[in-house]
């Protein structure tokens, strides 16, 4: 099993201004699951895109089964036997589940597409993933998890020599992840080489044989899975000590501090049930719960992004009515949404414009800030948050994920809010930037801002929060103190539904 089916040597890819990859070597054996690791911007996705013909390489060569190849486009890569599931779901929402699996290689009969065959085989494939669904319905009809499974099914069915899974588990629940792992093991046993990319360290240890670590476009090294501990792994990924994360201190809240935000019995039958939440001045409250537990819906309601049907919200003791986000901003509430790309960053506008937006929208367009004021504001936060950019006129969309998150954070810090709601601010960004954002969050608490922090990573919530609100099934289960809580406690409460 030691034969390399894939060898990539000295891969170099140049983007305007940066070397995305610089002489990276990578190899994959038949019947192996090989994890590819690195922070955001380390070059993992670029390496994958090079292998699938999306990006052209400037130097280096790729050997597949000993023969040199140069994939020109994804179609060509598939023909060569390289099949990929990309990070974002790359399927067509208007086509049926079955068709998404087979489009481009539909079975034909008498010169026509054989629809019966397609639907039959698709059903079989999906049932392999224990999904008993109507495969003739449009893909958009189904949840993200099923869509993700569909794209995995497509990649698996192509019968490739190499399967690439780029963050396939981000929208899957624990059971689905286990299912995926068992399929991966089957494929591995059949001799396929699998490249697996994920941010979840546990999953790497659960499933892979070897791992390759990249940092800033350079190769750090390739290791067997038992060669490195998690701590060593993280250190290698980040390239510096992780002490900074472990040195964070919880916000100190005066025992007699006033309640800054009070939400009483808010809800909307179709979204969340009767939730009451209060946050003191300078306090950090974490929302823990699984995807779909109602944490995002609660946050959106507190920001007026969705209408509150019943219940009252008070800021600093004053009752407010939230019809739209604008009302919340007027009431000094700020909100960093979960989906940074869709709801947060305005990619084609400059960093300056992105940062000044909330301040300006609060003033209304008739009272504009001068260009000078905007630039000063932007530069102040670029410096304060350490946003990596040559100047404030760079397009925000061209920044890395972590820097984009900092820009959004700057947008809200500039609006000097009393309450800051952060929905998954650290998702999909690298560990260094994660620590930075946690530190900023806590600093703001120190300045008297009340923060609501939502995250799927419970260790992060426990580390930062004064109090933790645990949610399940669109309702609040209980509240616990941050200091005396462990991940096991939270999981137990979520599983059992009571304190």
């Amino acid at each position: 099993m030691d034969k390399n089916i894939l060898e990539m040597k000295g891969i170099t890819i140049q983007f305007p201004g940066v070397k995305a990859l610089d002489g990276v070597d990578f190899s994959l054996r038949a019947g192996e699951i090989h994890s590819l690791l690195g922070e955001n911007g380390a070059g993992k996705s670029t390496l994958i895109k090079c292998l699938t013909g999306v990006n052209k390489m400037d130097a280096g060569k790729i050997l597949l089964d000993g023969k040199e190849i140069a994939p020109t486009d994804p179609g060509n890569a598939i023909e060569l036997g390289i099949s990929a599931v990309f990070q974002e779901i790359n399927l067509c929402p208007n086509l049926s589940v079955a068709e998404n699996i087979f489009v481009g290689r539909q079975p034909m009969k008498h010169g026509q597409i054989n629809w019966n065959e397609i639907n039959k085989r698709a059903s079989e494939l999906m049932s392999r993933f224990h999904l008993d669904i109507d495969v003739t319905r449009p893909l958009s009809y189904y949840s993200t998890a099923i869509q993700q499974m569909t794209s995995i099914a497509r990649a698996v069915d192509i019968q490739a020599k190499i399967l690439i899974l780029d963050e396939p588990t981000s929208s899957l629940d624990e059971n689905e992840v286990q299912l995926l792992f068992s399929v991966m093991h089957e494929l591995k046993a059949a001799g396929m080489g699998i490249i697996f990319i994920t941010h979840f360290l546990d999953q790497i240890y659960a499933v892979s044989d070897r791992m390759t670590i990249l940092r800033n476009g350079h190769l750090v090294g390739t290791y067997n899975i038992d060669e490195l501990t998690k701590f060593e792994l993280v250190t290698k990924m980040v390239g510096k000590d992780m002490d900074v994360i472990f040195s964070l201190k919880r916000a100190e809240v005066a025992p007699d501090a006033d309640y800054m935000l009070k939400a009483e019995h808010i809800g909307d039958a179709s979204k969340i049930n009767d939730i009451s939440i209060n946050v003191k001045k300078g306090e950090l409250v974490g929302f823990a719960g699984l995807l779909g537990s109602g944490r995002t819906e609660t946050a959106e309601m507190l920001f007026g992004a969705t209408r509150t049907v019943k219940g009252d919200i008070y800021i600093d003791g004053e009752k407010i009515i939230l019809r739209q986000p604008f009302d919340a901003i007027k009431a000094d509430i700020a909100f960093c949404p979960e989906d940074r790309k869709r709801d947060g960053i305005i990619g084609d506008l400059s960093i300056r414009e992105n940062i000044m937006l909330a301040v300006q929208s609060r003033k209304g367009f008739m009272k504009p800030m001068t260009r000078q004021e905007q630039t000063e504001l932007a530069n102040k936060y670029i410096k304060m948050l350490g946003i990596a950019t040559p100047d404030c006129e760079k397009k925000a969309g061209e920044l890395s994920g972590g820097n984009q998150q900092k820009v959004i954070l700057a947008r809200w810090m500039a609006a000097s809010p009393k309450v800051l709601i952060l929905d998954e601010p650290t998702r999909g960004i690298d560990i260094g930037a994660k620590a930075e954002i946690q530190r900023l969050m806590l600093e703001m608490c120190g300045e008297g801002v009340s923060v609501i922090f939502i995250s799927s990573e419970f260790d992060e919530i426990i580390r930062c929060s004064n109090r933790i609100v645990i949610m399940r099934d669109r309702a609040k289960v209980t509240e616990v103190k941050g200091e005396i809580c462990t991940q096991q406690d939270i999981l137990k409460i979520i599983a059992e539904g009571a304190a």
């Binding site: 486009d73 060509n76 990309f86 399927l91 489009v103 481009g104 026509q112 639907n119 003739t136 009809y141």
Partner: protein, 344 residues
């Protein structure tokens, strides 16, 4: 669930809702016409068949337009290309004394070539389809005017024969076949229209090329990442639409037996309107030939109603079409939002 789906579940798939809406509203309006003007002969076979005869050229063009719209593109050049085809035939036969088939061959090269070229510019130079095809429209119209600014009549035995060719609808009575009264017939244009609809439906539903069209309209980037030939498909779709425009131009030439540089002005928007009220989404990814067929009928039944009324200015037809468009857009909107909700 069973793999072999029964007809009922297949037909109740929510993706067909818009097509059903088109068909339903067509029959409602048709029935309304029957109630109002039934005594004047609105319900006769002749009136119904005339809907086809008077709008076949729009229908033929709508076949190609539907495909272009499904890819998420648009083609504004169809009216001008059809008009140019008419000019080719008229000028070629009447002034240059060429055989009509030569003219048609030249028109086909022109139409398909322009379509392919526009597709290439749209895909490889990344110029918006709206702008590219608008330029194509200006070009075709300009060439029309260069050929002649006067309307040219077409006189050629072959064209006359083709235009005059008709199949009378018969009924069996008293032991023999007789023509139905009032006399109704279908002509070459109607057959061409129906054949194009069938070809279009076959391409869309039964070939990989057709399914690639839907995939590109659903999400072009995904289609590329799934390894589908995005560029080739897009270019061919515009080429096919060029073919449809030429056929529509031939059909229009047969209908009016002349060529005029300003004929079919604004025709592209009529064709797009047909497709939209037939349930095709301008955002791409959704559309069916059956819907387009009824979209053409629905759009043409309104002028028919106004003619039967006799007192209304023909301009009410435009307003009615606008309102119909509004109605369909609202239905589409409703369907989309409800299916979005189902997902959650």
């Amino acid at each position: 669930m069973s793999n072999k789906q029964n007809l009922f579940t297949r037909l109740t798939n929510p993706k067909y809702i818009m097509v059903y809406a088109t068909i339903g509203i067509f029959f409602i309006i048709y029935a309304l016409g029957g109630i109002l003007y039934g005594d004047k002969g609105f319900l006769t076979v002749r009136t119904f068949v005339n809907l086809f005869i008077d709008n076949a050229y729009f229908g033929i063009s709508a076949v190609g337009m539907t495909m272009v719209l499904i890819t998420g593109g648009i083609d504004l050049s169809v009216g001008a290309v059809a008009s140019l085809t008419g000019m080719f035939i008229a000028y070629g036969t009447s002034v240059l004394n060429l055989h009509p088939l030569t003219c048609i061959a030249a028109a086909l090269v022109m139409g398909v070539g322009l379509g392919l070229l526009m597709g290439w510019v749209i895909h490889y130079l990344n110029v918006p389809a709206f702008i590219t095809t608008l330029t194509g429209m200006f070009l075709a119209r300009g060439v029309c005017s260069l050929i002649s600014r006067e309307s040219i009549d077409i006189h050629h035995p072959m064209i006359d024969a083709l235009a005059g060719w008709k199949i009378y609808l018969m009924k069996y009575a008293d032991g023999r076949w007789i023509k139905i009264k009032p006399i109704a017939f279908i002509n070459f244009n109607v057959i061409l229209f129906l054949v194009m609809i069938i070809i279009g439906a076959f391409i869309l539903q039964r070939t990989r090329f057709g399914r690639n069209i839907y995939a590109i309209g659903g999400n072009e980037q995904s289609a590329a990442l799934m390894g589908l030939p995005v560029g080739r498909t897009k270019i061919l779709v515009y080429g096919f639409n060029g073919l449809c425009s030429v056929l529509a131009g031939i059909s229009y030439a047969l209908y009016v037996k002349s060529g005029w540089n300003l004929s079919l002005q604004g025709g592209e928007l009529e064709v797009i309107t047909c497709a939209v009220i037939g349930g095709t989404l301008l955002t791409g990814g959704v559309g069916y030939m059956a819907g387009t067929l009824f979209g053409v009928l629905l759009k043409s039944v309104i002028p028919a109603l106004i003619t039967f009324n006799g007192n209304l200015l023909s301009w009410w037809g435009k307003i009615a079409t606008g309102l119909l468009l509004l109605l369909f857009i609202c239905i589409q909107r409703f369907v989309v939002t409800t299916s979005d909700r189902k997902q959650k």
